[in-house]
Protein backbone atom coordinates (compact mmCIF):
# COMPACT_ATOMS: atom_id res chain seq x y z
CA UNK A 1 0.00 0.00 0.00
CA UNK A 2 1.37 3.37 -0.99
CA UNK A 3 1.68 5.81 1.84
CA UNK A 4 1.67 9.56 1.88
CA UNK A 5 4.78 11.28 0.58
CA UNK A 6 7.01 13.50 2.67
CA UNK A 7 4.81 16.50 1.86
CA UNK A 8 1.92 14.75 3.62
CA UNK A 9 0.02 14.48 0.33
CA UNK A 10 -0.82 11.36 -1.62
CA UNK A 11 1.09 10.94 -4.89
CA UNK A 12 -0.05 12.98 -7.88
CA UNK A 13 -1.54 11.34 -10.99
CA UNK A 14 -2.11 12.91 -14.40
CA UNK A 15 -5.55 12.27 -15.84
CA UNK A 16 -6.37 11.78 -19.52
CA UNK A 17 -9.96 11.64 -20.76
CA UNK A 18 -11.24 10.38 -24.09
CA UNK A 19 -14.19 12.55 -25.11
CA UNK A 20 -15.67 10.04 -27.58
CA UNK A 21 -15.03 6.71 -29.24
CA UNK A 22 -12.05 6.86 -31.60
CA UNK A 23 -10.91 10.27 -30.35
CA UNK A 24 -7.50 10.66 -28.71
CA UNK A 25 -7.17 10.81 -24.93
CA UNK A 26 -6.44 14.36 -23.82
CA UNK A 27 -4.86 15.69 -20.67
CA UNK A 28 -7.63 16.84 -18.32
CA UNK A 29 -5.78 17.63 -15.10
CA UNK A 30 -4.44 15.81 -12.09
CA UNK A 31 -5.63 14.11 -8.88
CA UNK A 32 -4.07 12.89 -5.65
CA UNK A 33 -4.52 9.20 -4.85
CA UNK A 34 -2.75 6.48 -2.84
CA UNK A 35 -2.73 4.00 -5.76
CA UNK A 36 -3.82 3.47 -9.36
CA UNK A 37 -7.32 2.11 -8.67
CA UNK A 38 -8.23 5.03 -6.38
CA UNK A 39 -6.61 7.43 -8.85
CA UNK A 40 -8.96 6.11 -11.53
CA UNK A 41 -11.97 6.53 -9.24
CA UNK A 42 -10.94 10.05 -8.24
CA UNK A 43 -10.39 10.92 -11.90
CA UNK A 44 -13.88 9.64 -12.66
CA UNK A 45 -15.40 11.77 -9.91
CA UNK A 46 -13.43 14.93 -10.69
CA UNK A 47 -13.17 14.91 -14.49
CA UNK A 48 -15.99 12.83 -15.94
CA UNK A 49 -19.07 13.42 -13.81
CA UNK A 50 -20.68 15.69 -16.38
CA UNK A 51 -20.40 13.15 -19.17
CA UNK A 52 -17.09 14.39 -20.56
CA UNK A 53 -15.46 11.01 -21.10
CA UNK A 54 -15.93 7.49 -22.43
CA UNK A 55 -12.51 6.31 -21.20
CA UNK A 56 -9.95 7.38 -18.61
CA UNK A 57 -6.20 6.99 -18.22
CA UNK A 58 -4.22 7.81 -15.11
CA UNK A 59 -0.42 8.01 -15.06
CA UNK A 60 1.84 8.71 -12.09
CA UNK A 61 3.01 12.29 -12.54
CA UNK A 62 6.57 11.23 -11.68
CA UNK A 63 6.58 9.05 -14.82
CA UNK A 64 6.34 12.10 -17.04
CA UNK A 65 9.56 13.62 -18.32
CA UNK A 66 8.95 17.24 -19.23
CA UNK A 67 11.01 19.63 -21.31
CA UNK A 68 12.63 22.43 -19.33
CA UNK A 69 11.13 25.92 -19.74
CA UNK A 70 14.67 27.27 -20.25
CA UNK A 71 15.02 25.04 -23.30
CA UNK A 72 11.90 26.29 -25.04
CA UNK A 73 13.81 28.77 -27.22
CA UNK A 74 16.16 26.09 -28.44
CA UNK A 75 13.45 23.52 -28.92
CA UNK A 76 10.55 25.44 -30.42
CA UNK A 77 11.65 28.78 -31.90
CA UNK A 78 13.47 27.31 -34.91
CA UNK A 79 10.14 25.92 -36.13
CA UNK A 80 8.65 29.40 -36.40
CA UNK A 81 10.68 30.41 -39.45
CA UNK A 82 10.16 27.38 -41.61
CA UNK A 83 6.78 27.97 -43.21
CA UNK A 84 7.58 25.41 -45.90
CA UNK A 85 6.97 22.76 -43.28
CA UNK A 86 3.27 23.59 -43.37
CA UNK A 87 1.30 21.61 -45.91
CA UNK A 88 -0.29 24.59 -47.71
CA UNK A 89 2.78 24.82 -49.98
CA UNK A 90 1.98 21.54 -51.61
CA UNK A 91 -0.16 21.50 -54.73
CA UNK A 92 -3.36 19.57 -54.30
CA UNK A 93 -3.91 16.98 -57.01
CA UNK A 94 -6.95 17.51 -59.18
CA UNK A 95 -10.11 15.84 -57.99
CA UNK A 96 -9.30 16.12 -54.26
CA UNK A 97 -11.92 18.30 -52.59
CA UNK A 98 -10.80 18.24 -48.97
CA UNK A 99 -7.85 17.03 -46.98
Amino acid sequence: MTTKSESGQWPLWEVFTQPGGGKPHQHAGSVHAPDAEIALQNARDVYSRRGEAVSLWVVPSVSITASAPADSGMLFDPGNEKPYRHPQFYKTPKGIQVF
Binding site: M1, W10, A33, I38, N42, D45
Partner: protein
Protein backbone atom coordinates in the same frame (compact mmCIF):
# COMPACT_ATOMS: atom_id res chain seq x y z
CA UNK B 1 -52.38 -3.38 -3.27
CA UNK B 2 -51.47 0.21 -4.06
CA UNK B 3 -51.13 0.83 -0.32
CA UNK B 4 -48.47 -1.90 -0.09
CA UNK B 5 -46.67 -0.57 -3.15
CA UNK B 6 -46.78 2.96 -1.72
CA UNK B 7 -45.20 1.73 1.54
CA UNK B 8 -42.63 -0.25 -0.40
CA UNK B 9 -41.64 2.76 -2.49
CA UNK B 10 -41.36 4.92 0.63
CA UNK B 11 -38.84 2.41 2.01
CA UNK B 12 -36.80 2.52 -1.19
CA UNK B 13 -36.93 6.31 -1.26
CA UNK B 14 -36.31 6.93 2.44
CA UNK B 15 -33.28 4.62 2.60
CA UNK B 16 -31.59 6.67 -0.10
CA UNK B 17 -32.78 10.05 1.12
CA UNK B 18 -31.45 9.49 4.64
CA UNK B 19 -28.13 7.93 3.61
CA UNK B 20 -27.72 10.61 0.94
CA UNK B 21 -28.17 13.29 3.57
CA UNK B 22 -25.68 11.65 5.92
CA UNK B 23 -23.12 11.49 3.11
CA UNK B 24 -23.82 15.10 2.19
CA UNK B 25 -22.67 16.07 5.68
CA UNK B 26 -19.14 15.31 4.44
CA UNK B 27 -19.31 18.09 1.86
CA UNK B 28 -16.47 20.44 2.75
CA UNK B 29 -15.18 18.02 5.42
CA UNK B 30 -13.74 15.19 3.31
CA UNK B 31 -10.31 13.84 4.28
CA UNK B 32 -8.90 15.06 0.95
CA UNK B 33 -10.36 17.20 -1.83
CA UNK B 34 -10.85 14.29 -4.24
CA UNK B 35 -12.68 12.20 -1.64
CA UNK B 36 -14.80 15.18 -0.66
CA UNK B 37 -16.03 15.29 -4.25
CA UNK B 38 -16.47 11.50 -4.34
CA UNK B 39 -18.66 11.40 -1.21
CA UNK B 40 -20.68 14.38 -2.42
CA UNK B 41 -21.24 12.50 -5.68
CA UNK B 42 -22.51 9.50 -3.72
CA UNK B 43 -24.83 11.82 -1.83
CA UNK B 44 -26.18 13.37 -5.02
CA UNK B 45 -26.74 9.96 -6.66
CA UNK B 46 -28.63 8.68 -3.62
CA UNK B 47 -30.71 11.85 -3.28
CA UNK B 48 -31.56 11.69 -6.99
CA UNK B 49 -32.69 8.08 -6.64
CA UNK B 50 -34.72 9.03 -3.57
CA UNK B 51 -36.46 11.75 -5.55
CA UNK B 52 -37.49 9.27 -8.25
CA UNK B 53 -38.74 6.64 -5.80
CA UNK B 54 -40.65 9.21 -3.73
CA UNK B 55 -42.15 10.87 -6.79
CA UNK B 56 -43.43 7.47 -7.88
CA UNK B 57 -44.67 6.77 -4.34
CA UNK B 58 -46.71 9.96 -4.46
CA UNK B 59 -48.14 8.98 -7.83
CA UNK B 60 -49.11 5.52 -6.55
CA UNK B 61 -50.65 7.02 -3.42
CA UNK B 62 -52.81 9.26 -5.58
CA UNK B 63 -53.30 12.06 -3.05
CA UNK B 64 -51.31 14.66 -4.96
CA UNK B 65 -48.15 14.50 -2.83
CA UNK B 66 -44.90 14.91 -4.75
CA UNK B 67 -41.34 13.95 -3.79
CA UNK B 68 -40.71 17.26 -2.00
CA UNK B 69 -43.83 16.94 0.13
CA UNK B 70 -42.90 13.40 1.10
CA UNK B 71 -39.30 14.35 1.86
CA UNK B 72 -39.88 17.56 3.77
CA UNK B 73 -43.33 17.31 5.31
CA UNK B 74 -43.31 13.92 6.98
CA UNK B 75 -42.13 13.51 10.57
CA UNK B 76 -39.76 10.97 12.05
CA UNK B 77 -42.39 8.29 12.73
CA UNK B 78 -43.52 8.46 9.11
CA UNK B 79 -40.05 7.68 7.77
CA UNK B 80 -39.48 4.09 6.64
CA UNK B 81 -35.69 3.93 6.28
CA UNK B 82 -33.40 1.29 7.80
CA UNK B 83 -32.01 2.43 11.14
CA UNK B 84 -28.39 1.83 10.10
CA UNK B 85 -28.67 4.63 7.55
CA UNK B 86 -29.73 7.32 10.02
CA UNK B 87 -26.80 6.84 12.41
CA UNK B 88 -24.40 9.82 12.52
CA UNK B 89 -21.76 9.79 9.80
CA UNK B 90 -19.01 8.98 12.30
CA UNK B 91 -15.46 8.91 11.00
CA UNK B 92 -14.46 8.19 7.41
CA UNK B 93 -14.18 4.46 8.18
CA UNK B 94 -17.75 4.28 9.48
CA UNK B 95 -19.10 6.20 6.50
CA UNK B 96 -17.32 3.88 4.05
CA UNK B 97 -18.14 0.66 5.90
CA UNK B 98 -21.82 1.62 6.12
CA UNK B 99 -21.88 2.58 2.45
CA UNK B 100 -20.24 -0.72 1.57
CA UNK B 101 -22.72 -2.83 3.58
CA UNK B 102 -25.69 -0.91 2.16
CA UNK B 103 -24.48 -0.82 -1.45
CA UNK B 104 -23.82 -4.57 -1.39
CA UNK B 105 -27.38 -5.17 -0.16
CA UNK B 106 -28.77 -2.62 -2.60
CA UNK B 107 -26.94 -4.37 -5.44
CA UNK B 108 -28.95 -7.58 -5.02
CA UNK B 109 -32.16 -5.70 -4.29
CA UNK B 110 -31.88 -3.63 -7.49
CA UNK B 111 -31.03 -6.74 -9.51
CA UNK B 112 -34.43 -8.04 -8.50
CA UNK B 113 -36.20 -4.72 -9.05
CA UNK B 114 -35.07 -4.40 -12.66
CA UNK B 115 -37.37 -7.40 -13.26
CA UNK B 116 -40.35 -5.57 -11.73
CA UNK B 117 -43.66 -5.63 -13.58
CA UNK B 118 -44.14 -1.99 -12.57
CA UNK B 119 -42.57 -0.18 -15.52
CA UNK B 120 -41.65 3.05 -13.70
CA UNK B 121 -40.08 1.15 -10.83
CA UNK B 122 -38.18 -1.03 -13.28
CA UNK B 123 -36.80 2.07 -15.03
CA UNK B 124 -35.70 3.74 -11.80
CA UNK B 125 -34.04 0.51 -10.66
CA UNK B 126 -32.08 0.27 -13.91
CA UNK B 127 -30.74 3.80 -13.46
CA UNK B 128 -29.98 3.24 -9.78
CA UNK B 129 -28.23 -0.06 -10.49
CA UNK B 130 -25.60 1.69 -12.62
CA UNK B 131 -24.92 4.25 -9.90
CA UNK B 132 -24.95 1.60 -7.20
CA UNK B 133 -22.34 -0.52 -8.97
CA UNK B 134 -19.95 2.39 -8.70
CA UNK B 135 -20.87 3.07 -5.05
CA UNK B 136 -20.17 -0.56 -4.25
CA UNK B 137 -16.83 -0.49 -6.01
CA UNK B 138 -15.73 2.77 -4.41
CA UNK B 139 -16.75 1.72 -0.90
CA UNK B 140 -15.32 -1.81 -1.29
CA UNK B 141 -11.96 -0.50 -2.41
CA UNK B 142 -11.86 1.84 0.56
CA UNK B 143 -12.82 -0.88 3.02
CA UNK B 144 -9.94 -3.01 1.69
CA UNK B 145 -7.48 -0.11 1.91
CA UNK B 146 -8.55 0.94 5.38
CA UNK B 147 -8.55 -2.61 6.72
CA UNK B 148 -5.28 -3.55 5.07
CA UNK B 149 -3.69 -0.14 5.62
CA UNK B 150 -2.04 1.27 8.72
CA UNK B 151 -2.54 0.08 12.27
CA UNK B 152 -4.86 3.00 12.95
CA UNK B 153 -6.91 2.60 9.77
CA UNK B 154 -7.30 -1.13 10.51
CA UNK B 155 -8.45 -0.41 14.06
CA UNK B 156 -10.96 2.20 12.89
CA UNK B 157 -12.28 0.01 10.07
CA UNK B 158 -12.83 -2.94 12.44
CA UNK B 159 -14.52 -0.66 14.97
CA UNK B 160 -16.79 0.69 12.21
CA UNK B 161 -17.65 -2.83 11.08
CA UNK B 162 -18.38 -3.93 14.65
CA UNK B 163 -20.62 -0.91 15.13
CA UNK B 164 -22.53 -1.23 11.85
CA UNK B 165 -22.91 -5.00 11.67
CA UNK B 166 -25.72 -5.55 14.23
CA UNK B 167 -27.93 -3.11 12.32
CA UNK B 168 -27.71 -5.11 9.08
CA UNK B 169 -30.19 -7.68 10.42
CA UNK B 170 -32.88 -5.23 9.39
CA UNK B 171 -31.83 -5.58 5.73
CA UNK B 172 -33.40 -9.02 5.55
CA UNK B 173 -36.59 -8.70 7.59
CA UNK B 174 -39.67 -9.17 5.45
CA UNK B 175 -43.20 -8.18 6.45
CA UNK B 176 -46.58 -8.20 4.73
CA UNK B 177 -45.66 -5.22 2.57
CA UNK B 178 -42.65 -7.05 1.14
CA UNK B 179 -44.56 -10.27 0.68
CA UNK B 180 -47.47 -8.59 -1.13
CA UNK B 181 -45.30 -6.66 -3.61
CA UNK B 182 -43.11 -9.73 -4.16
CA UNK B 183 -46.13 -11.96 -4.81
CA UNK B 184 -47.39 -9.46 -7.40
CA UNK B 185 -44.02 -9.42 -9.17
CA UNK B 186 -43.57 -5.73 -8.38
CA UNK B 187 -40.92 -5.84 -5.66
CA UNK B 188 -38.35 -8.05 -3.98
CA UNK B 189 -38.72 -10.01 -0.74
CA UNK B 190 -35.52 -9.02 1.11
CA UNK B 191 -35.36 -12.23 3.15
CA UNK B 192 -33.85 -13.99 0.13
CA UNK B 193 -30.98 -11.53 -0.20
CA UNK B 194 -28.94 -12.68 2.78
CA UNK B 195 -26.91 -15.52 1.18
CA UNK B 196 -25.55 -13.55 -1.82
CA UNK B 197 -25.00 -10.47 0.38
CA UNK B 198 -23.08 -12.47 2.97
CA UNK B 199 -20.90 -14.08 0.30
CA UNK B 200 -20.00 -10.72 -1.27
CA UNK B 201 -19.47 -8.89 2.00
CA UNK B 202 -17.45 -11.67 3.59
CA UNK B 203 -15.10 -11.81 0.61
CA UNK B 204 -14.31 -8.08 0.85
CA UNK B 205 -13.96 -8.20 4.64
CA UNK B 206 -11.42 -11.03 4.33
CA UNK B 207 -9.47 -9.16 1.66
CA UNK B 208 -9.44 -6.19 4.03
CA UNK B 209 -7.91 -8.46 6.72
CA UNK B 210 -10.88 -7.59 8.94
CA UNK B 211 -12.99 -9.96 11.02
CA UNK B 212 -16.67 -10.63 10.38
CA UNK B 213 -18.46 -9.69 13.61
CA UNK B 214 -20.98 -12.03 15.18
CA UNK B 215 -22.95 -9.97 17.69
CA UNK B 216 -26.68 -10.30 18.37
CA UNK B 217 -29.06 -8.34 16.17
CA UNK B 218 -30.21 -4.94 17.35
CA UNK B 219 -33.76 -3.85 17.89
CA UNK B 220 -35.33 -3.06 14.57
CA UNK B 221 -38.37 -1.20 13.35
CA UNK B 222 -37.28 1.45 10.84
CA UNK B 223 -39.78 0.06 8.34
CA UNK B 224 -42.57 0.69 10.88
CA UNK B 225 -41.45 4.21 11.71
CA UNK B 226 -39.48 3.38 14.86
CA UNK B 227 -36.16 5.16 14.80
CA UNK B 228 -33.08 5.99 16.83
CA UNK B 229 -32.72 9.32 18.57
CA UNK B 230 -30.58 10.52 15.65
CA UNK B 231 -33.18 10.65 12.89
CA UNK B 232 -35.25 13.46 14.42
CA UNK B 233 -32.22 15.74 14.66
CA UNK B 234 -31.20 14.94 11.12
CA UNK B 235 -34.67 15.62 9.77
CA UNK B 236 -34.91 18.90 11.67
CA UNK B 237 -31.83 20.10 9.83
CA UNK B 238 -32.87 18.62 6.50
CA UNK B 239 -36.41 19.98 6.59
CA UNK B 240 -36.01 23.39 8.24
CA UNK B 241 -35.58 25.41 5.05
CA UNK B 242 -38.51 23.79 3.25
CA UNK B 243 -40.75 24.23 6.29
CA UNK B 244 -39.71 27.84 6.88
CA UNK B 245 -40.53 28.78 3.29
CA UNK B 246 -43.42 26.54 2.21
CA UNK B 247 -43.73 26.20 -1.54
CA UNK B 248 -40.57 28.22 -2.23
CA UNK B 249 -38.94 27.62 -5.61
CA UNK B 250 -35.39 28.21 -6.79
Amino acid sequence: MSQALFEYLLRLGDDRLVLGHRNAEWCGHGPILEEDIAISNLALDLTGEAQLFLELAGKVEGLGRDADQLAYWRDETQFRNLQLLELPKGDFAFTMVRQFLFSAWSHFLLEGLIQSKQEDLKGIAAKAQKENRYHLRHASEWVVRLGDGTEESHRRAQAALDQAWPWTGEFFLADDVDRVVAAEGLGVDPSGLRPPWEALVTDVIRRATLTVPSPPMRMVGGRKGRHTEYLGHMLAEMQVVARSHPGAKW
